[in-house]
Each structure stands twice: as structure tokens, then as C-alpha cells.
């Protein structure tokens, strides 16, 4: 939001731990009297009024192609046409304190990507990375590489921060809608947050192993050889 509109971010109320409980975005283009009128109308303002960020603090654009959903839509259309798969990795970094942290995290992720335009926001502290053309194995490797870079950065910080990651891959034979695709990655991210650090994805191995020929199937196949012929078609 800060990228498209120059705003000032004003803390409206602060808790006992001095953390803002609510913020008010003010259009920086308003003149002084306009801003003061708005601030006067907010009863919880007072000594707690504090400018958190201004137009000069805008985050640099992550993507010029719009929201994450638009980006995903574009990539899924490519999957349909090219038959190339596409992965989506969501990285959530907790323990973030303020805009400066956010920007540093974003820079680390962006620098780890071969194409910076693959990066988008998904919520305040979660980043989305599109992995076009990568199947599950390659996407896992790439996701692991990015995750390790972020972990390295997070572990070096003095504050306690952690990173969780969820991933999904879409293949041409089954292309979900953009919202569903994002939700699939988000559900894996949720697993990561609940079950511990690391990258989580749909249990592809389970799906792969489900194609394994079982002992029972084999027994039925070979019963023909031991028992003789079956009814003719």
C-alpha cells in the first residue's frame, strides 16, 4: 500500500509493552490542517501519537504486476499453455519488529531469487515466491535453498525470529484456481507454524508410494499362473 500511495503511519494506541495496538494511515498529500483535523477526531490519540513511517519509508515495489493473486493467475495460465509445472512457496518470518526488519527480510529473499519479480507479499510478515517451471523435486530444492538463506539471516539477528515455510506445486494435468493454489500453500504454511520449523508440502511421497504395486495385487496377478485360466472375455 505504501508503494502506491504516499502515507504516514500514525500509532493510535499503545499497549503496556509500548507496541502499537492500532495504526492510522494518513494521506501525506493532506495539508497540515487536514491532518490535524483527522488526528483530533481520534479520541485515543494524545501523547501516544507517533509517526511510524512516512512517504520516504515506502517499501520498494516487489512486483509491478499487481497482487499475488494476479501473479498466480498469470503463472497458472502459463502452466496450462506450456505444460510446465509451477511451485508457490510461502515464507513467514515471525518476531519481526517494524518496517526496517520487514525490508531487510524482503531484501534477503529478493537477493536469493534468480528473478526478483517472482516475489510478492502475502500478509504482513509472509512472503510469496513463485517458482515457475519447477516440478516437485526441483521446487523442493529451490525452496530449501531460499529457506536456508532466510534462516541464515534470521539466525544472525539479535532478536528471536523464526521462519516457517509452506509450499505447493501445480502440474498441467490439474490446474487449480489461483485462490485455491494460494490456499494450498497457505495450509502447508499453517502446518509449518503448528508443527515446527522447516518447509512443509503436500506429502508427495505418500502419493508416489500409493502407485506402488502391493503384495495383494501381485498375488492376484500371479494366481493366474498357478491356478490356470480365468473366464474368457
Amino acid at each position: 500500500m505504501a508503494r502506491e500511495y504516499p502515507v504516514e503511519c500514525v500509532s493510535v494506541g499503545r499497549g503496556d509493552d509500548d507496541v502499537p495496538r492500532a495504526v492510522l494511515y494518513l494521506d501525506s498529500n493532506l495539508d497540515r490542517s487536514g491532518k490535524e483535523e483527522i488526528l483530533r477526531s481520534c479520541p485515543s490519540l494524545g501523547k501516544g501519537v507517533r509517526r511510524l513511517s512516512g512517504p520516504d519509508d515506502v517499501l520498494p515495489a516487489i512486483s509491478t504486476s499487481g497482487t499475488l493473486k494476479n501473479m498466480v493467475n498469470t503463472e497458472l495460465a502459463k502452466v496450462k499453455k506450456s505444460r510446465l509445472p509451477c511451485g508457490l512457496l510461502l515464507l513467514k518470518i515471525t518476531g519481526v519488529d517494524g518496517r526496517a526488519d520487514l525490508q531487510k527480510n524482503e531484501a534477503v529473499i529478493r537477493n536469493s531469487l534468480p528473478q526478483p519479480e517472482q516475489l510478492a507479499h502475502y500478509g504482513e510478515t509472509t512472503f510469496a515466491v513463485l517458482l515457475p517451471g519447477l516440478g516437485i523435486r526441483q521446487a523442493r530444492c529451490e525452496a530449501q535453498r531460499i529457506y536456508e538463506k532466510v534462516r541464515e539471516h534470521v539466525d544472525c539477528r539479535e532478536k528471536e525470529m523464526s521462519v516457517s515455510a509452506g509450499m505447493t506445486v501445480c502440474v498441467a494435468r490439474h490446474i487449480p484456481g489461483a485462490a485455491t493454489f494460494i490456499d494450498m500453500a497457505a495450509s502447508q504454511l499453517q502446518r509449518a507454524e503448528q508443527e515446527g520449523p522447516g518447509i512443509y508440502w503436500e506429502d508427495q511421497k505418500e502419493k508416489e508410494n500409493s502407485c506402488q504395486v502391493t503384495a495383494e495385487e501381485r498375488a492376484h496377478l500371479f494366481s493366474f499362473l498357478t491356478e490356470g485360466g480365468k473366464d474368457q472375455p
Binding site: S82, R83, L84, P85, G133, L134, G135, Q138, R173, H174, K207, E208, S210, C211, V213, T214, E216, E217, R218, H220, L221, F222, S223, F224, L225, G229, K230, D231, Q232, P233
Partner: protein, 252 residues
């Protein structure tokens, strides 16, 4: 399902799981039979790194699918015409990289193939053995999946496994079985019946039966002479079986 429109040929993959059950020989002779019925046939050697179609046909190829993938060469310039209406797109031999194409290369190859197949009524793909990426990919691309097996537990298991993977991972359901190297028609029917029972019980698949090809010395002789037995020995038992399979394919 007939190929009613030249722009949308019927793509048939011929696979087996196990190697050595006769895929290439059957594919080459089936293509020959289809061409003999006036159909325009493209035979793609899908064993991209260990080509055999050109060997069975006695071709001396200069250009292969490899050049399409690696150099962007127009695949139509790589086609070899065997008979009027019957062309082959040869693969390369001794090139491991071709047997392990990346997603991008596979997608590029698909695009390239789809640009040329519109001129044909039938596209037959002789895939490699096994369940590697290229096998699965060609089978996914095809409209109909022919699975070759022989009355041998390893061939039956591998054929079943291939079908299971294609169904489980790609949702394929249109399978047709050809039983090769049988001692009699009855044996072929028994093998088919058994496979059908197991496929239906465990996977909910009812495969079609394209027919059985008998053990026939004409086949080995034809391979050694590098000429399709359908052409060199049209009256052989194997040729008559191929003729039946061809007619079933044409009427489906």
C-alpha cells in the same frame, strides 16, 4: 474414437513397462498396417536416447529428435518417409541426456510435435521401457494407451505397475492390452482376462483387448533383415494378428 479431423490425429502410445516384450516391432508393423489401409501415420520413436525404430526399419538417419530439442530444428525436416503416408520421426542412440529431458525440454518437444502431427491421421509413439519420465510423459500426451505384455509374471507385473502409475498420477483410463508372444489365442485371452480382473478389482479400470500376437519365427527373421514382417511376410501368423489389431484400432 476415430480420427475424424486431420487437425486432431489420434495419438496412440505403445508401452509395456518391461523391456523386450516387442513394443517396437509391434509399433512398426501396426504403423505399416495402418498406412496400408490408406491412413497417414506418423511413428515417433519415443525411446529418445536408445532409438530402435530406425534399426527395425533399416534406416540410416542423419537427423533425429535430438536436434529438435537441442537446436530447435523443425521436426518436420527430420521426418523420414517410409511409405507414402507413413513417416517416422527418429530418435537418437547413445544419448543419455535425451532420456532425461527437463520439464522445459519436454514442453518444447510437445509444442514442436503438435505443430507437425496435424498432417496425420494416426500418431503412434513407441515409448521406452520402464516408467521413466519420458514414458510417462508420452503416455500422458496420448489419447489412447496401448500396453504390451507377454504371458510372463515380470511382464504382467510391469504392465500393471505402469497402468497403476498412469492412472494414479495422470488420471489415465483408456488402456488397451496387446498380449505378445502367446502360444495360442486362448493363452492371450486368458492373460487379458486375468489382467482385466486385477485392474478392475484394484484400480477400477476395464482395459480394452486389442488382441494377441503369436510366437512366430517370422518376427525374428524380419528384425534381422530390418524389414517389417507385415511387409516381408504378410501371410505370417504375426502379420494376421497385426491386421486384426489394426482393424480394431480403425473401428474404435
Amino acid at each position: 474414437m476415430k480420427a475424424e479431423n486431420k487437425a486432431t490425429p489420434k495419438i496412440v502410445s505403445i508401452s509395456s513397462g518391461k523391456g523386450g516384450v516387442g513394443k517396437t516391432s509391434i509399433t512398426v508393423n501396426l504403423a505399416t498396417a495402418l498406412a496400408g489401409q490408406g491412413k497417414k501415420v506418423l511413428l515417433i520413436d519415443g525411446d529418445l536416447g536408445l532409438a530402435n525404430v530406425d534399426v527395425i526399419l533399416g534406416l540410416n538417419v542423419r537427423h533425429t529428435i535430438r536436434e529438435t530439442v537441442e537446436e530447435g530444428r523443425d521436426p518436420s525436416a527430420t521426418l523420414v518417409e517410409i511409405l507414402p503416408g507413413f513417416s517416422v520421426l527418429p530418435a537418437s542412440s547413445g544419448v543419455p541426456e535425451m532420456a532425461n529431458l527437463s520439464y522445459e525440454e519436454q514442453a518444447f518437444l510437445t509444442d514442436a510435435l503438435e505443430r507437425i502431427i496435424g498432417d496425420f491421421d494416426y500418431v503412434l509413439v513407441d515409448t521406452a521401457a520402464g516408467i521413466g519420465d519420458s514414458v510417462l510423459w508420452f503416455n500422458e500426451w496420448a489419447d489412447v494407451n496401448f500396453i504390451i505384455l507377454s504371458p510372463d509374471p515380470t511382464a504382467m507385473t510391469d504392465a500393471y505397475a505402469l497402468i497403476k502409475v498412469l492412472q494414479g498420477r495422470y488420471g489415465k483410463k483408456n488402456f488397451h492390452l496387446i498380449v505378445n508372444q502367446v502360444k495360442s489365442k486362448k493363452e492371450g485371452q486368458e492373460v487379458y482376462a486375468n489382467m482385466k480382473t486385477v485392474l478392475e478389482k484394484f484400480l477400477g479400470i476395464i482395459p480394452g483387448y486389442q488382441g494377441a500376437i503369436p510366437q512366430d519365427s517370422a518376427v525374428a527373421r524380419a528384425v534381422r533383415s530390418q524389414r517389417p514382417f507385415f511387409m516381408s511376410q504378410p501371410g505370417s501368423r504375426a502379420s494376421l494378428a497385426i491386421k486384426d489389431i489394426c482393424e480394431r484400432l480403425l473401428s474404435s
